[in-house]
Amino acid sequence: MDIAFVRRELIAPLPPPLATRGMLGFARQRLFGGVLNTTLTLLSLLLLIVVLPPLLRFLIIDAVWDGASRVDCLPETQGRPVGACWPFVAAKFRQFMYGFYPEAEQWRINVTYALGVILLVPLLIPRVPYKTWNAIAFFGLFPLVAFVLLVGDVLGLPHVETRLWGGMLVTLVITFTGIIGSLPLGVLLALGRASKLPVVRMLATIFIEFWRGVPLITVLFFATYMLPLFLPGNWRIDPMLRVLIGVVLFAGAYMAEVVRGGLQAVPRGQYEGATALGLGYWRMMGYVIMPQALKHVIPGIVNSFISLFKDTTLVLIVAIFDLLGQLRAAFADPNWATPVTLFTGFAFAGMIYFLVSFGMSRYALFVERRLNTEQAR
């Protein structure tokens, strides 16, 4: 009888087969596993080949980078196929950014932007201290300073009528006013809807559901054509102000629903605890409930700011020319009428809109992750 040889120690495990490791394994599993998967991969590659190279050619390789008029953007002048006509954007840049704001006064817009950025950036970075003072400065003081700077008529600044405003300036003014107007309105409406007083609850519910049930464009028409009729005949409201009122009412109703979600997420024990401590309604809401509720829904709030930013484009229908409105106006300029002007303009404005909205949504995601880790602790 033979004595079998018995190994004393374990053999080190073999490395996994080449085909399931690294790039190759990834490709086999996620791209070419099975007939259906392979077909889908090939179709996607085909789509990429059809879309990407022409896009790159249009935006960069074939694009015209300098020129003075439409002639420079014609294939006959260049002697080659022509992509985007960037000189068009350069020539219209001021119009896209400032509208018809007098050129000598445009520094006021730049100062406002700079102030806004200086106050906003530290507010967005969680580590920077003095959040309360920063928020007061940004939401309380900054609007006043911006109003004085942009409208003028005091401190020796000449008055600039709002009908001269346009482009990115209008887009940002409407978005910002919508944000600082809709937040308090939304909080009040949400409290009203959650109130124990039946009359208050009913009025808040009707208000919220009314504005949420109609399209924004009818709200803008309401503000532009109907609102002046409801006010005493000798009151004149500026067209820009009318639109701002409409946007705030509309955005406030949506904000109220977001805040309501946060209120519902606050546990009952918090209300009971606050009552047991002897806090009244406003103290309970202000010190205990709202801080928790708002923190829960920061991502939702940022998302409604993104919608607000995108919705500002609608003001061009009531003849207030935001970035998109100025873009459309610039297309009508015969000096720049080429076959590629339209695509160039849309590419430029699209990049701006995309960068701002995408940036905001990434920020919301960042805050959401941060809040999640705080809750897990």
Binding site: R30, T41, P198, V200, G213, T218, F221, Y225, F346, G350
Partner: protein, 427 residues
């Protein structure tokens, strides 16, 4: 001391009594709201008198005097504003219904693609959703209308859409690479004949279906089949409850709804034909022309809403816990049955409420048609009619009321559905 021992409610000052306080606050709020409403009404009537415009709804009977470039019912310039309202409402509903159907199909495809095990497909789905969702809808509508459809060739150089152009393009490509088989593709393309769908700067031209005599019988047969299917479902349900035997209701209903009209169609000798569009001179004769405004609006609304629906679908499918599919496997259900009986019903419960919300958004967003001149309710009524009659209060109130009514009806249906599906899942 005695009073406290005898019990009864504690004595508090009137202004500290909760009941009194709540009544007082409510009366104050109501008084403020009513005062505002009264002030608005007084101002409005004074302003209207000062401006000298008519008020009331009498204008609905006046002659409109403007043309509309797409009408689903007969309309001429001599018709009334009331008819303009109906024409606009029908155009809005047309966009809303077609848009919702197409957006649902595209949205489900993209939502499922984002969950695909295929890495590339999932990434492409993500890029689509992020790009579309982060651009304003009006921007997209103007892009499709001005930049894409506005720069289409004239009718003489129309772009044909269909199998034939694709096949001949493949043939040309093969010929350019000097590979064999180009002629096969070309002759196949030629045998199919010219395409029936054309794209040019005047819109999209489609073949027009011609329904011959007796087609109403086919429609009646279809209606009958639907009724029969409902009866069948009720019967199958009762049998299931009584005996536990299942019945392939879905297949039977499908067979009924296709088979019954099909048999009638064959019996009548297939009274369906198509009127093919043909290029005569500078334009197309025959067929149906979709105006470019409609095409651009639909395209933008469908691609935009589909991006949101894709997210709804993805969230819905991910909301079904993994344990559900594992448990159904453990019970011995086949993959198809598990999907149909376990996964899809639970995912749908999560998907349907936000999906309805997206349908509402699409309907409300269709009012952006006014920016490109598609004659929807908002454009012809709150736009042109308001400009001509200056009766802002009545017209904006009617327009808002229509959209509100659509929203309210949808949310009532939604609440009913939610209550019903929650009941079903609780027992």
């Amino acid at each position: 001391m005695k009073e406290a021992l005898t019990g009864g409610p504690p004595r508090v000052a009137v202004h500290n009594n909760p009941k009194f306080r709540s009544a007082f606050y409510q009366i104050v709020v109501l008084a403020v709201v009513l005062a505002c409403a009264y002030a608005f009404a007084v101002n409005a009537s004074a302003n209207l008198r000062a401006q000298g415009f008519a008020s009331g709804f009498g204008f609905l009977g006046n002659t409109a005097g403007f043309g509309i470039n797409q009408t689903l019912i007969d309309y001429s310039e001599t018709d009334t504003y009331g008819r303009v309202f109906v024409v606009g409402l029908l155009n809005t509903l047309l966009v809303a219904i077609i848009g919702c159907v197409l957006a649902t199909v595209l949205g489900f495809i993209i939502g499922i693609a984002r969950l695909s095990p295929n890495w590339l497909i999932a990434r492409l789905g993500g890029v689509y959703v992020e790009t579309i969702r982060n651009l304003p809808l009006l921007f997209q509508i103007l892009f499709w209308y001005l930049a894409v459809l506005g720069t289409m060739p004239s009718p003489r150089n129309s772009i044909g859409l269909g199998l034939q152009p694709i096949l001949s393009a493949i043939g040309d490509g093969i010929a350019a690479l000097a590979l064999p088989g180009a002629d096969a593709f070309r002759s196949l393309a030629a045998s199919i004949g010219p395409p029936d769908v054309y794209l040019n700067n005047r819109g999209v031209i489609l073949p027009r279906p011609l329904l011959g005599d007796g087609f109403e019988w086919v429609a009646i047969a279809f209606g009958l089949a639907v009724l029969l299917a409902i009866v069948l479902r009720i019967w199958a349900r009762q049998r299931l409850d009584a005996t536990g035997k299942t019945f392939p209701t879905g297949w039977a209903a499908f067979a009924l709804m296709v088979g019954l009209p099909g048999v009638v169609l064959l019996a009548l000798g297939v009274p369906i034909g198509f009127e093919h569009p043909q290029l005569r001179g500078f334009n197309f004769v025959g067929g149906v022309r979709l105006i470019p405004e409609l095409v651009a609006l639909l395209f933008a609304l469908v691609t935009y809403t589909a991006a949101f629906i894709a997210e709804v679908v993805r969230a819905g499918i991910q909301a079904v816990p993994r344990g559900q599919s594992e448990a159904s496997q453990a019970l011995g259900l086949k993959r198809g049955l598990a999907l149909r009986l376990i996964i899809v019903p639970q995912a749908l419960r999560v998907i349907i409420p936000p999906l309805t919300n997206q349908y509402l958004n699409l309907t409300k967003n269709s009012s952006l048609a006014v920016a490109i001149g598609y004659p929807d309710l908002f454009a012809v009524f709150a736009g042109t009619t308001l400009n001509q009659t200056h009766q802002a209060i009545e017209i904006i109130a009617i327009t808002m009321a229509v959209y509100l009514a659509i929203s309210l009806i949808t949310s009532i249906l939604m609440n009913w559905y939610n209550a019903r599906s929650n009941r079903r899942f609780e027992c």
